[in-house]
Protein backbone atom coordinates (compact mmCIF):
# COMPACT_ATOMS: atom_id res chain seq x y z
CA UNK A 1 0.00 0.00 0.00
CA UNK A 2 1.37 3.42 -0.88
CA UNK A 3 2.27 5.70 1.95
CA UNK A 4 -0.03 8.45 0.83
CA UNK A 5 -2.95 6.16 1.58
CA UNK A 6 -4.53 5.86 -1.84
CA UNK A 7 -6.16 2.54 -2.53
CA UNK A 8 -6.97 3.46 -6.13
CA UNK A 9 -5.50 6.17 -8.28
CA UNK A 10 -6.98 6.08 -11.77
CA UNK A 11 -6.32 8.46 -14.62
CA UNK A 12 -7.89 8.66 -18.07
CA UNK A 13 -9.13 5.09 -18.19
CA UNK A 14 -10.84 4.20 -21.44
CA UNK A 15 -12.15 1.00 -22.92
CA UNK A 16 -14.13 0.13 -26.02
CA UNK A 17 -16.06 -2.93 -27.07
CA UNK A 18 -15.95 -2.98 -30.86
CA UNK A 19 -17.75 0.10 -32.05
CA UNK A 20 -18.81 1.40 -28.66
CA UNK A 21 -16.76 3.21 -26.06
CA UNK A 22 -17.83 1.86 -22.67
CA UNK A 23 -15.50 4.09 -20.66
CA UNK A 24 -14.03 7.40 -21.69
CA UNK A 25 -11.49 9.37 -19.69
CA UNK A 26 -12.36 8.16 -16.20
CA UNK A 27 -10.13 9.49 -13.46
CA UNK A 28 -10.53 9.42 -9.71
CA UNK A 29 -8.73 8.76 -6.46
CA UNK A 30 -9.91 6.69 -3.53
CA UNK A 31 -8.16 6.72 -0.16
CA UNK A 32 -7.66 3.52 1.74
CA UNK A 33 -10.34 2.05 3.95
CA UNK A 34 -13.20 3.94 2.33
CA UNK A 35 -16.39 2.63 0.79
CA UNK A 36 -17.04 4.11 -2.63
CA UNK A 37 -20.32 3.93 -4.47
CA UNK A 38 -20.13 3.85 -8.25
CA UNK A 39 -23.53 4.93 -9.47
CA UNK A 40 -25.06 5.19 -12.90
CA UNK A 41 -27.71 3.76 -15.12
CA UNK A 42 -27.37 0.40 -16.85
CA UNK A 43 -24.77 0.72 -19.54
CA UNK A 44 -23.04 3.67 -17.90
CA UNK A 45 -19.79 1.74 -17.62
CA UNK A 46 -19.83 0.69 -13.94
CA UNK A 47 -19.12 -2.97 -14.63
CA UNK A 48 -16.41 -2.15 -17.13
CA UNK A 49 -14.69 0.12 -14.62
CA UNK A 50 -14.72 -2.48 -11.87
CA UNK A 51 -13.51 -5.20 -14.21
CA UNK A 52 -10.61 -3.05 -15.39
CA UNK A 53 -9.57 -2.26 -11.83
CA UNK A 54 -9.83 -5.92 -10.82
CA UNK A 55 -7.72 -6.79 -13.92
CA UNK A 56 -10.40 -9.02 -15.39
CA UNK A 57 -10.10 -7.03 -18.61
CA UNK A 58 -7.53 -4.62 -19.96
CA UNK A 59 -7.94 -0.89 -20.42
CA UNK A 60 -7.47 0.44 -23.93
CA UNK A 61 -5.75 3.53 -22.59
CA UNK A 62 -5.07 5.32 -19.36
CA UNK A 63 -3.48 3.93 -16.25
CA UNK A 64 -4.39 3.14 -12.69
CA UNK A 65 -2.69 2.15 -9.48
CA UNK A 66 -4.68 -0.39 -7.47
CA UNK A 67 -3.34 -1.15 -4.01
CA UNK A 68 -0.02 0.36 -5.01
CA UNK A 69 0.34 -1.75 -8.15
CA UNK A 70 -0.08 -0.65 -11.73
CA UNK A 71 -2.69 -2.42 -13.86
CA UNK A 72 0.07 -4.21 -15.72
CA UNK A 73 1.05 -6.03 -12.52
CA UNK A 74 -1.95 -8.31 -12.79
CA UNK A 75 -0.86 -11.06 -10.48
CA UNK A 76 -0.03 -8.70 -7.61
CA UNK A 77 -3.35 -6.91 -7.90
CA UNK A 78 -5.25 -10.18 -8.09
CA UNK A 79 -3.56 -11.41 -4.95
CA UNK A 80 -4.92 -8.56 -2.89
CA UNK A 81 -8.26 -7.82 -4.50
CA UNK A 82 -11.51 -9.71 -4.95
CA UNK A 83 -14.29 -9.21 -7.44
CA UNK A 84 -17.95 -10.02 -6.95
CA UNK A 85 -19.10 -10.18 -10.56
CA UNK A 86 -22.39 -10.60 -12.39
CA UNK A 87 -21.52 -14.21 -13.04
CA UNK A 88 -21.11 -16.35 -9.99
CA UNK A 89 -17.75 -17.98 -10.86
CA UNK A 90 -19.17 -21.22 -9.47
CA UNK A 91 -18.85 -24.78 -10.69
CA UNK A 92 -22.34 -26.26 -10.96
CA UNK A 93 -21.42 -29.85 -10.29
CA UNK A 94 -19.26 -29.10 -7.26
CA UNK A 95 -20.60 -28.51 -3.76
CA UNK A 96 -20.52 -25.17 -2.01
CA UNK A 97 -17.66 -26.31 0.15
CA UNK A 98 -15.72 -27.70 -2.82
CA UNK A 99 -16.11 -24.44 -4.69
CA UNK A 100 -14.72 -22.54 -1.72
CA UNK A 101 -11.87 -24.93 -1.11
CA UNK A 102 -10.45 -23.87 -4.46
CA UNK A 103 -9.61 -20.63 -2.66
CA UNK A 104 -8.69 -21.66 0.86
CA UNK A 105 -9.27 -24.50 3.27
CA UNK A 106 -10.99 -22.87 6.25
CA UNK A 107 -14.39 -22.78 4.60
CA UNK A 108 -16.62 -23.49 7.59
CA UNK A 109 -16.63 -20.08 9.25
CA UNK A 110 -17.27 -18.20 6.05
CA UNK A 111 -20.08 -20.58 5.10
CA UNK A 112 -21.71 -19.90 8.45
CA UNK A 113 -21.32 -16.19 8.02
CA UNK A 114 -23.28 -16.18 4.77
CA UNK A 115 -25.84 -18.62 6.10
CA UNK A 116 -25.02 -21.59 3.91
CA UNK A 117 -23.52 -23.94 6.47
CA UNK A 118 -26.44 -26.37 6.22
CA UNK A 119 -26.14 -26.59 2.43
CA UNK A 120 -22.37 -26.79 2.38
CA UNK A 121 -22.26 -30.25 0.89
CA UNK A 122 -24.95 -29.77 -1.73
CA UNK A 123 -24.12 -29.23 -5.37
CA UNK A 124 -24.39 -25.66 -6.54
CA UNK A 125 -26.73 -26.78 -9.29
CA UNK A 126 -29.40 -27.21 -6.60
CA UNK A 127 -28.99 -23.66 -5.32
CA UNK A 128 -31.39 -20.83 -5.89
CA UNK A 129 -30.17 -17.54 -7.34
CA UNK A 130 -30.08 -15.98 -3.89
CA UNK A 131 -28.01 -18.82 -2.47
CA UNK A 132 -25.53 -18.56 -5.31
CA UNK A 133 -25.13 -14.89 -4.56
CA UNK A 134 -24.43 -15.70 -0.93
CA UNK A 135 -21.84 -18.25 -1.99
CA UNK A 136 -20.24 -15.63 -4.21
CA UNK A 137 -20.01 -13.37 -1.16
CA UNK A 138 -18.38 -16.21 0.71
CA UNK A 139 -15.80 -16.42 -2.09
CA UNK A 140 -14.99 -12.75 -1.67
CA UNK A 141 -14.69 -12.97 2.12
CA UNK A 142 -12.51 -16.04 1.91
CA UNK A 143 -10.02 -14.22 -0.28
CA UNK A 144 -9.48 -11.67 2.53
CA UNK A 145 -8.97 -8.83 0.06
CA UNK A 146 -7.54 -5.42 0.83
CA UNK A 147 -9.73 -4.01 -1.93
CA UNK A 148 -13.09 -5.55 -2.76
CA UNK A 149 -15.03 -4.78 -5.93
CA UNK A 150 -18.73 -5.57 -5.61
CA UNK A 151 -20.68 -5.36 -8.86
CA UNK A 152 -24.43 -5.16 -8.21
CA UNK A 153 -24.25 -6.97 -4.84
CA UNK A 154 -27.97 -6.59 -4.26
CA UNK A 155 -28.97 -8.58 -7.31
CA UNK A 156 -31.09 -11.68 -6.63
CA UNK A 157 -31.17 -11.13 -2.89
CA UNK A 158 -34.20 -10.96 -0.61
CA UNK A 159 -34.48 -8.37 2.21
CA UNK A 160 -32.48 -10.70 4.47
CA UNK A 161 -29.86 -10.69 1.79
CA UNK A 162 -29.71 -6.90 1.79
CA UNK A 163 -28.75 -7.05 5.44
CA UNK A 164 -26.08 -9.58 4.49
CA UNK A 165 -24.54 -7.12 2.04
CA UNK A 166 -24.31 -4.51 4.75
CA UNK A 167 -22.74 -7.02 7.13
CA UNK A 168 -20.21 -8.10 4.52
CA UNK A 169 -19.27 -4.51 3.75
CA UNK A 170 -18.99 -3.76 7.46
CA UNK A 171 -16.78 -6.78 7.99
CA UNK A 172 -14.56 -5.85 5.06
CA UNK A 173 -14.28 -2.33 6.35
CA UNK A 174 -13.38 -3.54 9.80
CA UNK A 175 -10.38 -5.36 8.39
CA UNK A 176 -9.23 -2.09 6.86
CA UNK A 177 -10.24 -3.06 3.38
CA UNK A 178 -11.40 -0.61 0.75
CA UNK A 179 -14.74 -1.41 -0.88
CA UNK A 180 -16.00 -0.29 -4.27
CA UNK A 181 -19.68 -0.96 -4.88
CA UNK A 182 -21.29 -0.53 -8.27
CA UNK A 183 -25.05 -0.43 -8.21
CA UNK A 184 -27.99 1.50 -9.50
CA UNK A 185 -29.75 1.05 -6.16
CA UNK A 186 -28.15 4.12 -4.67
CA UNK A 187 -30.38 4.57 -1.64
CA UNK A 188 -29.24 1.28 -0.12
CA UNK A 189 -25.61 2.24 -0.21
CA UNK A 190 -25.53 5.96 0.47
CA UNK A 191 -25.99 5.27 4.15
CA UNK A 192 -22.58 3.75 4.52
CA UNK A 193 -20.70 5.06 1.51
CA UNK A 194 -17.87 7.52 2.13
CA UNK A 195 -17.41 8.51 -1.47
CA UNK A 196 -19.37 8.50 -4.67
CA UNK A 197 -18.51 8.34 -8.34
CA UNK A 198 -21.23 8.90 -10.85
CA UNK A 199 -20.86 7.54 -14.38
CA UNK A 200 -22.89 8.59 -17.37
CA UNK A 201 -22.26 7.11 -20.82
CA UNK A 202 -18.80 6.03 -19.79
CA UNK A 203 -17.73 9.39 -18.42
CA UNK A 204 -17.55 10.77 -14.92
CA UNK A 205 -20.68 12.84 -14.51
Amino acid sequence: MPLDGLAIDASHLARRYGRRWALVDVSFQLPRGRVMLVAGRNGAGKTTLLRILATAIRADSGRASVGGHELTEREEIRRTTALLAHQSYLYESLTARENLSLIASDTQSVLERVGLADRANDAVSTFSAGMRKRLSFARVLLQKPTIAFLDEPFGQLDPEGFALVEEVVAELKSTGATVVIATHQIDRVTRFADAQLRLENGRVA
Binding site: E75, Y89, L90, S93, L94
Partner: protein, 217 residues
Protein backbone atom coordinates in the same frame (compact mmCIF):
# COMPACT_ATOMS: atom_id res chain seq x y z
CA UNK B 1 -1.10 -27.50 -9.33
CA UNK B 2 -2.40 -30.38 -7.26
CA UNK B 3 -5.50 -28.36 -6.41
CA UNK B 4 -6.09 -27.65 -10.07
CA UNK B 5 -5.75 -31.31 -10.96
CA UNK B 6 -7.92 -32.37 -8.06
CA UNK B 7 -10.63 -29.98 -9.18
CA UNK B 8 -10.47 -31.37 -12.69
CA UNK B 9 -10.75 -34.96 -11.54
CA UNK B 10 -13.58 -34.04 -9.19
CA UNK B 11 -15.45 -32.34 -12.02
CA UNK B 12 -14.89 -35.34 -14.26
CA UNK B 13 -16.05 -37.71 -11.60
CA UNK B 14 -19.22 -35.74 -11.03
CA UNK B 15 -20.02 -35.82 -14.74
CA UNK B 16 -18.95 -39.41 -15.24
CA UNK B 17 -22.16 -40.27 -17.05
CA UNK B 18 -20.74 -38.32 -19.94
CA UNK B 19 -17.69 -40.54 -20.03
CA UNK B 20 -19.88 -43.59 -20.47
CA UNK B 21 -21.68 -41.88 -23.32
CA UNK B 22 -18.38 -41.04 -25.00
CA UNK B 23 -17.26 -44.66 -24.66
CA UNK B 24 -20.48 -45.85 -26.29
CA UNK B 25 -19.88 -43.36 -29.08
CA UNK B 26 -16.35 -44.64 -29.60
CA UNK B 27 -17.41 -48.27 -29.56
CA UNK B 28 -20.19 -47.53 -32.03
CA UNK B 29 -17.71 -45.84 -34.31
CA UNK B 30 -15.50 -48.92 -34.24
CA UNK B 31 -18.54 -51.03 -35.02
CA UNK B 32 -19.47 -48.85 -37.97
CA UNK B 33 -15.94 -49.10 -39.34
CA UNK B 34 -16.21 -52.86 -39.25
CA UNK B 35 -19.48 -52.70 -41.19
CA UNK B 36 -17.86 -50.44 -43.74
CA UNK B 37 -15.20 -53.07 -44.42
CA UNK B 38 -17.14 -56.26 -43.82
CA UNK B 39 -15.64 -59.57 -42.77
CA UNK B 40 -12.17 -59.46 -44.21
CA UNK B 41 -8.56 -59.86 -43.23
CA UNK B 42 -8.28 -56.14 -43.81
CA UNK B 43 -10.00 -55.61 -40.48
CA UNK B 44 -7.07 -57.02 -38.57
CA UNK B 45 -4.58 -55.24 -40.75
CA UNK B 46 -6.13 -51.84 -40.22
CA UNK B 47 -7.30 -52.37 -36.67
CA UNK B 48 -4.77 -49.83 -35.42
CA UNK B 49 -6.14 -47.27 -37.82
CA UNK B 50 -9.73 -47.85 -36.78
CA UNK B 51 -8.90 -47.68 -33.10
CA UNK B 52 -7.20 -44.32 -33.44
CA UNK B 53 -9.84 -42.89 -35.74
CA UNK B 54 -12.44 -43.88 -33.19
CA UNK B 55 -10.41 -42.37 -30.39
CA UNK B 56 -9.84 -39.17 -32.33
CA UNK B 57 -13.51 -38.69 -33.13
CA UNK B 58 -14.43 -39.34 -29.52
CA UNK B 59 -11.82 -36.87 -28.37
CA UNK B 60 -13.77 -34.01 -29.93
CA UNK B 61 -16.61 -34.83 -27.57
CA UNK B 62 -14.39 -34.97 -24.51
CA UNK B 63 -12.41 -31.89 -25.39
CA UNK B 64 -15.36 -29.67 -26.17
CA UNK B 65 -16.94 -30.67 -22.87
CA UNK B 66 -13.80 -29.90 -20.92
CA UNK B 67 -14.38 -26.18 -20.89
CA UNK B 68 -18.12 -26.33 -20.56
CA UNK B 69 -18.02 -26.23 -16.77
CA UNK B 70 -15.62 -23.29 -16.91
CA UNK B 71 -17.82 -21.22 -19.15
CA UNK B 72 -21.16 -21.83 -17.45
CA UNK B 73 -20.65 -19.21 -14.78
CA UNK B 74 -17.37 -17.79 -16.02
CA UNK B 75 -15.65 -19.98 -13.45
CA UNK B 76 -12.45 -19.81 -15.49
CA UNK B 77 -12.26 -16.06 -15.01
CA UNK B 78 -12.96 -16.58 -11.32
CA UNK B 79 -9.93 -18.83 -11.05
CA UNK B 80 -7.68 -16.50 -13.01
CA UNK B 81 -8.59 -13.68 -10.64
CA UNK B 82 -7.66 -15.60 -7.50
CA UNK B 83 -4.91 -15.51 -8.89
CA UNK B 84 -4.22 -18.87 -10.41
CA UNK B 85 -1.53 -18.93 -13.04
CA UNK B 86 -2.97 -19.67 -16.49
CA UNK B 87 -0.14 -22.12 -17.03
CA UNK B 88 -1.19 -24.14 -14.00
CA UNK B 89 -4.77 -24.11 -15.21
CA UNK B 90 -3.67 -25.34 -18.61
CA UNK B 91 -1.58 -28.22 -17.39
CA UNK B 92 -4.25 -29.30 -14.95
CA UNK B 93 -6.84 -29.43 -17.71
CA UNK B 94 -4.56 -30.96 -20.29
CA UNK B 95 -3.54 -33.68 -17.88
CA UNK B 96 -7.13 -34.41 -16.95
CA UNK B 97 -8.14 -34.54 -20.61
CA UNK B 98 -5.23 -36.83 -21.40
CA UNK B 99 -6.25 -39.15 -18.58
CA UNK B 100 -9.80 -39.27 -19.87
CA UNK B 101 -8.56 -40.16 -23.33
CA UNK B 102 -6.23 -42.82 -21.96
CA UNK B 103 -9.06 -44.44 -20.05
CA UNK B 104 -11.22 -44.31 -23.16
CA UNK B 105 -8.42 -45.78 -25.25
CA UNK B 106 -7.91 -48.62 -22.82
CA UNK B 107 -11.65 -49.29 -22.78
CA UNK B 108 -11.74 -49.44 -26.56
CA UNK B 109 -8.90 -51.94 -26.87
CA UNK B 110 -11.06 -54.98 -26.00
CA UNK B 111 -13.67 -53.71 -28.46
CA UNK B 112 -10.98 -53.56 -31.11
CA UNK B 113 -9.69 -57.03 -30.25
CA UNK B 114 -13.14 -58.53 -30.50
CA UNK B 115 -14.42 -56.71 -33.58
CA UNK B 116 -11.27 -56.88 -35.68
CA UNK B 117 -9.67 -60.08 -34.44
CA UNK B 118 -6.77 -57.95 -33.37
CA UNK B 119 -5.54 -59.89 -30.39
CA UNK B 120 -1.97 -59.34 -29.35
CA UNK B 121 0.32 -60.12 -26.46
CA UNK B 122 2.09 -56.80 -26.65
CA UNK B 123 -0.36 -55.06 -24.39
CA UNK B 124 2.20 -52.91 -22.54
CA UNK B 125 3.32 -51.48 -25.88
CA UNK B 126 -0.23 -50.64 -26.84
CA UNK B 127 -0.71 -49.04 -23.46
CA UNK B 128 2.35 -46.89 -23.99
CA UNK B 129 1.13 -45.79 -27.42
CA UNK B 130 -2.29 -44.94 -26.02
CA UNK B 131 -0.66 -42.82 -23.33
CA UNK B 132 1.63 -40.97 -25.72
CA UNK B 133 -1.01 -40.54 -28.41
CA UNK B 134 -3.63 -39.29 -25.96
CA UNK B 135 -1.13 -36.82 -24.60
CA UNK B 136 -0.48 -35.64 -28.14
CA UNK B 137 -4.17 -35.07 -28.82
CA UNK B 138 -4.77 -33.49 -25.43
CA UNK B 139 -2.10 -30.80 -25.51
CA UNK B 140 -3.26 -28.79 -28.53
CA UNK B 141 -6.82 -30.02 -28.02
CA UNK B 142 -7.08 -28.39 -24.60
CA UNK B 143 -5.74 -25.11 -25.94
CA UNK B 144 -8.11 -25.07 -28.88
CA UNK B 145 -10.97 -26.12 -26.66
CA UNK B 146 -10.34 -23.06 -24.51
CA UNK B 147 -10.44 -20.91 -27.63
CA UNK B 148 -13.48 -22.38 -29.30
CA UNK B 149 -15.57 -22.50 -26.13
CA UNK B 150 -15.44 -18.71 -26.18
CA UNK B 151 -16.19 -18.36 -29.88
CA UNK B 152 -19.26 -19.05 -31.95
CA UNK B 153 -19.85 -22.33 -33.80
CA UNK B 154 -17.72 -24.14 -31.25
CA UNK B 155 -18.70 -27.65 -32.33
CA UNK B 156 -17.38 -27.28 -35.85
CA UNK B 157 -14.36 -25.15 -35.08
CA UNK B 158 -12.61 -27.53 -32.72
CA UNK B 159 -12.19 -30.51 -35.07
CA UNK B 160 -11.48 -28.13 -37.95
CA UNK B 161 -8.53 -26.65 -36.10
CA UNK B 162 -7.32 -29.74 -34.31
CA UNK B 163 -7.38 -32.50 -36.92
CA UNK B 164 -4.82 -31.14 -39.39
CA UNK B 165 -2.52 -30.38 -36.52
CA UNK B 166 -2.39 -33.86 -35.04
CA UNK B 167 -1.75 -35.70 -38.28
CA UNK B 168 1.70 -36.74 -36.98
CA UNK B 169 0.14 -38.14 -33.81
CA UNK B 170 -2.37 -40.10 -35.85
CA UNK B 171 0.26 -41.47 -38.23
CA UNK B 172 2.65 -42.45 -35.46
CA UNK B 173 0.00 -43.96 -33.19
CA UNK B 174 -1.64 -45.93 -35.97
CA UNK B 175 1.66 -47.23 -37.27
CA UNK B 176 2.96 -48.16 -33.84
CA UNK B 177 -0.30 -49.84 -32.86
CA UNK B 178 -0.46 -51.80 -36.11
CA UNK B 179 3.09 -52.97 -35.60
CA UNK B 180 2.23 -54.08 -32.10
CA UNK B 181 -0.74 -56.07 -33.38
CA UNK B 182 0.72 -57.50 -36.57
CA UNK B 183 4.32 -57.95 -35.53
CA UNK B 184 7.35 -55.73 -35.71
CA UNK B 185 10.30 -57.76 -37.00
CA UNK B 186 12.49 -54.76 -37.72
CA UNK B 187 11.66 -52.92 -34.52
CA UNK B 188 10.33 -49.87 -36.36
CA UNK B 189 7.92 -49.17 -33.54
CA UNK B 190 10.70 -47.48 -31.64
CA UNK B 191 11.00 -44.70 -34.21
CA UNK B 192 7.28 -43.98 -34.10
CA UNK B 193 7.31 -43.86 -30.34
CA UNK B 194 10.17 -41.40 -30.58
CA UNK B 195 8.12 -39.26 -32.92
CA UNK B 196 5.26 -39.27 -30.44
CA UNK B 197 7.56 -38.32 -27.60
CA UNK B 198 8.97 -35.45 -29.64
CA UNK B 199 5.55 -34.16 -30.60
CA UNK B 200 4.35 -34.38 -27.01
CA UNK B 201 7.44 -32.59 -25.74
CA UNK B 202 7.11 -29.74 -28.20
CA UNK B 203 3.39 -29.23 -27.85
CA UNK B 204 3.08 -29.59 -24.09
CA UNK B 205 5.64 -26.81 -23.73
CA UNK B 206 4.43 -24.60 -26.56
CA UNK B 207 0.75 -24.72 -25.66
CA UNK B 208 1.49 -24.11 -22.00
CA UNK B 209 3.44 -21.04 -23.02
CA UNK B 210 0.70 -19.68 -25.24
CA UNK B 211 -2.27 -20.52 -23.05
CA UNK B 212 -2.43 -17.29 -21.14
CA UNK B 213 -2.80 -15.33 -24.37
CA UNK B 214 -5.81 -17.47 -25.17
CA UNK B 215 -7.71 -16.99 -21.91
CA UNK B 216 -6.70 -13.50 -20.84
CA UNK B 217 -8.31 -10.40 -22.23
Amino acid sequence: MITALRKELLLQWRTRAQAIAVFVFGATALLLFSFAIGPSAALRQYAGGFLWLGLLLSSTLTLSESFHAEMENQALEGLLLLPVSPRVLYYGKALANAMQLIVLGIALVPVMIVLYDAGTTRIPTILLIIILGSAGISAPGTLYSAMTSQARAKQTLLPLLLFPLIVPVLLASVKATSLAILGDPMDQGRAWVLLLVTFDGIYWSLCGLLFDRVVED
